[in-house]
């Protein structure tokens, strides 16, 4: 995590506040900060999205490339997650400084996408055993304001929703096959992201837990639970992180909250993305010029 130093008294103030269900910015424990999203922001990607959650800024680009399927899964494509913590976010990330955090985020993302029932990899298959689409999902972290895991997963889902893979027609030609990739921007294949998960991080601070912790709150937190939650309310990956431990009962409580908030996020995200899509091509990309 990105280090913020706090004095003992500040920590106590935050801790008691959370106990009182009144956080430093007036939110209650289960409130999310307001989140802004825009997709299709990088034109040379197959799909992209930008998410801003308070001071956390994330840009995700998806690139589809052709490749060979893994031999143990000949009829499936692949997702490759890569996270880069830009030094723009904090000088701590300069050089290889952000690598540890980056691997942690990409590991959890790939784990939460690693179940066929939530993302159908066979839709990425072109020619079984020979050719498939590999989706490189590159997450770029541009500014840190806490809750990086959740924000990354939301941006990834939005970018996948935005992804349009060119249609491929397979033609048999005298024994050898030929692939023809359509260059019509409307002749595309969309991905089904209906049951794709979003990550919800529950930070245990004192005896209570909060969602969407700010950086200062993260500095007070010794143990957090990260859960990949789908729209249906199922769980696709779970992980405890941090140097502290949790009471079995509070793990259950946190899972309960995570399920509720996770479903909320998924539902309103889908709703917003569909709204954006309805605006169609008329919509002007705002990006970083605002």
């Amino acid at each position: 995590m990105v280090d913020v130093q706090l004095s003992d008294a500040e920590k106590i103030y935050i801790l008691h506040g959370i106990q009182d269900n009144c956080r430093e910015d007036g939110r209650s424990c289960e409130d999310y900060r307001h989140l802004e999203i825009e997709s299709n922001v990088v034109s040379n990607t197959t799909g992209s999205a930008r998410v801003r959650l308070a001071n956390t800024e994330i840009l995700v680009g998806v690139k589809a490339e052709m490749g060979n399927p893994a031999p143990e899964k000949p009829d499936k494509g692949r997702l490759e997650f890569f996270v880069d913590c830009s030094a723009n976010a904090t000088p701590q990330f300069e050089g290889r400084g952000g690598e540890e955090l980056a691997t942690e985020i990409s590991n959890l993302l790939s784990r939460s996408y690693d179940c066929p029932s939530c993302f159908d990899l066979s839709s990425l298959c072109v020619l079984p055993g020979q050719q498939c689409w590999i989706l490189y999902i590159d997450v770029l972290l541009l500014e840190c304001g806490g809750n990086l895991f959740d924000a990354s997963s939301i941006a990834v889902k939005a970018a996948l929703f935005n992804t349009r893979i060119p249609k491929v027609t397979v033609r048999e030609d005298e024994g050898h096959t030929e692939l023809e990739i359509s260059d019509d921007p409307y002749d595309v294949q969309r991905l089904n992201v209906q049951s794709v998960p979003c990550i919800v991080t529950l930070s245990k601070i004192g005896h209570s837990h909060v969602v969407d912790a700010s950086q200062r709150e993260e500095a007070c937190c010794l143990a957090r639970l990260m859960i990949g939650v789908t729209e249906k309310g199922t769980i696709t990956a779970m992980k405890k992180e941090g140097s502290g431990s949790l009471d079995p009962a509070s793990v259950e409580d946190m899972m309960e909250t995570g399920k509720k908030v996770g479903q909320d996020i998924n539902i309103s995200l889908t709703c917003v993305l569909k709204m954006e899509e309805r605006q169609g091509v008329k919509r002007q990309t705002i990006g970083f010029l605002r």
């Binding site: 040379n44 800024e57 690139k63 723009n88 990006g287 970083f288």
Partner: protein
């Protein structure tokens, strides 16, 4: 150039520009809250973010501190999705290390380094989308970010590229023009004092034509300066206008 006409008979380039025309520049200062200065620039489809931290105490080994001036520390990095074909690493390859060095040299020359002995200024550049002229856009974005951070500079540093196609010099070349194998000249100047702080030329160019190409590129930097200056003035006016009304 087989099959690809970089300059049509009517004198238009592939993207419809005339030889001396820059791509559309759009920029904004103060993108990030946490950095001391930040800026974003779009030059055509080349999009770059820059953040500046400092001047601040030297981080890491104190040994790096310079007793008579500030340490300018740069990092050039490209998003893995920024290029047509996906990049495997955002930085650390030879090309970006070279860019990092060039940026450092460029800004060492422009920032008034003697004002902040023993401290450090970080300039981080992130290319989000690349369509030729990455160095130029990086320099231009970083200039804006340095200004946004309120760090004293002798002048703006503006960069521009140029090439030479069918006996005509062309300015601010795009990726397509860059990769066609023709000559490429990159220059960074302090536009008001008309000094060159960085100059690089690749590939073959007849010496007779050098001055023509260089002149056009230098003119390009002045045009860039004009646009950037406009943006800075607008930004400052907006912020300080507000401050002044509050004090009354």
């Amino acid at each position: 150039m087989a099959g690809l006409e970089l300059l049509s008979d009517q004198g238009f380039r592939i993207d419809g520009r005339r030889p001396h025309e820059l791509r559309k520049i759009q920029c904004r200062l103060g993108i990030f809250k946490q950095a001391d200065g930040s800026a974003y620039i779009e030059q055509g489809n080349t999009k770059v973010l820059a953040a500046v931290y400092g001047p601040h105490e030297i981080r890491g080994s104190r040994g790096k501190a310079l007793h008579d001036k500030v340490l300018v520390n740069c990092q050039y990095s490209m998003a893995t999705f920024s290029t047509g074909e996906r990049k495997r690493r955002p930085r650390g390859d030879r090309k970006s290390q070279e860019m990092t060095m060039h940026l450092k040299q460029t800004f060492d020359a422009a920032i008034q380094t003697a004002l902040y002995p023993r401290s450090q200024i970080d300039i981080f550049v992130e290319v989000l989308q690349s369509d030729g002229g990455n160095y130029c856009a990086s320099v231009n974005a970083a200039t804006l970010a340095v200004i946004d951070a309120g760090i004293p500079m002798k002048d703006y540093v503006c960069a521009c590229s140029a090439s030479f196609v069918s006996d005509t010099p062309i300015v601010d070349i795009s990726y397509l023009e860059e990769s066609s194998g023709g000559p490429e000249l990159i220059v960074a100047t302090l536009p008001k004092s008309e000094q060159i702080v960085f100059l690089e030329q690749n590939s073959r160019l007849h010496e007779d034509n050098l001055s023509k190409v260089l002149d056009l590129a230098v003119k390009g930097t002045k045009d860039v300066h004009h646009v950037l200056d406009q943006a800075v003035r607008e930004h400052v006016s907006q912020v300080s206008a507000f401050e002044n009304t509050d004090q009354s």
